[in-house]
Amino acid sequence: MAPKPAAAQIEQRGEDHLEFETAVREHQGLVYSMAYHFLGNRAVAEELAQDVFLSLYRNFQNIKSGSHLVFWLRKVTSHRCLDYIRGQKHRAHLSLEEVRERPLRHQDPDPFISGHLRRMVTSLPEKARMVVVLRYQEDLTPTEISELLEMPVNSVKSHLRRSLALLREKMSSRLRVEPYE
């Protein structure tokens, strides 16, 4: 006996629901990490990641494949992060040059390079920061990043080059060691 149309809809909705939940569990790390590495704040990153998944739920019918889903999530997350930063008008802007440099030896409570690097990444200019996050978290090529952020490949490359130079310089002066390779 064929199910009634309403029941079919409910059944279909249930399947979509399950599929969506699977997608959330599978890709939550991607979305949350991008937001966290970009924003540097766990609570805000979690809130933003939830919004991204709610947006995915609204557009779930339009997702065609797994790769399309990943592309969609990366794109929406990056744009939402950039929008969030731009929306914070009153936020005090701290450029990388303004990051206070402290000697590492005795006072610094966080001696781990990863922690320093993460903090320095969050002080990069917004576009450069997103490029760095996509390059080193998601391991995307400059071409893929340019498609995702809708910017020329050369801009992506120059963002990467300048960001690496800045980070290298800051790390060298911060750690007071040999020039950073």
Binding site: E21, R25, Q28, H37, A49, L54, S114, V132
Partner: protein, 194 residues
């Protein structure tokens, strides 16, 4: 890949969200909170009005027409004002003032009309206020000084101008005569010494 790139990869490796993250998302989905269509900033009615191409075109045309009309009105107003101020005394006396300057002889007709005649009689009195005057005179005819009426000032300016033109005319005639005399001398010399 160099050291900083390795360190960046290490620093930016994926991190899992809090354990109940997926549950929170599903709760929001089930409760329907945040599922309403995303509100995009609605267009401002005034902005829409301003951005309609036809309206913009009409407004721009009207503004341009108003500017042209305004400029034309202002210009004609000042031109009329200048002619009215000067027209009175000029219309009553068309004769140039007598100036004690050497005049060309009666037997020899003056081939070139004097500047005063060319400017004053040929064009009429209206030109005095329009653009042939010196800046100082033009300004005084428009604004006037404290305590003097504008027509008086214009009349004085006109007299000064006539005097200046008469002097210039006389000097021109004198120079012309001198040249002609010199030419005559030269012709005699040429005849004597071919």
């Amino acid at each position: 890949m160099n050291s900083i790139e390795e360190d960046l990869k290490q620093a930016l490796r994926r991190q899992e969200p809090p354990a109940d993250f997926a549950g929170k998302v599903m709760d929001r989905v089930n409760s329907g909170s945040g599922l309403e269509p995303e509100k995009r900033p609605g267009p401002n009615k005034v902005l829409v009005f301003r951005l309609k191409p036809k309206v913009v075109l009409w407004l721009a045309t009207a503004a341009a027409a108003a500017c042209v009309l305004g400029l034309f009105t202002i210009r004609s107003y000042f031109a009329d004002r200048g002619s009215v101020e000067v027209a009175g005394p000029v219309s009553t006396s068309n004769q140039l003032p007598r100036v004690a300057t050497p005049q060309p002889s009666d037997a020899r007709p003056n081939p070139a009309p004097s500047i005063a005649e060319g400017n004053e009689i040929g064009r009429g009195p209206r030109r005095i206020g329009a653009g042939d005057l010196r800046p100082g005179i033009r300004r005084s005819s428009h604004r006037g000084h404290a305590g003097t009426s504008v027509p008086d000032e214009a009349r004085r300016a006109e007299e000064q101008l006539r005097l200046a033109l008469a002097i210039a005319s006389a000097k021109l005639g004198y120079a012309q005569r001198s040249i002609q005399e010199a030419d005559g001398t030269n012709s005699v010399d040429r005849e004597a010494n071919p």
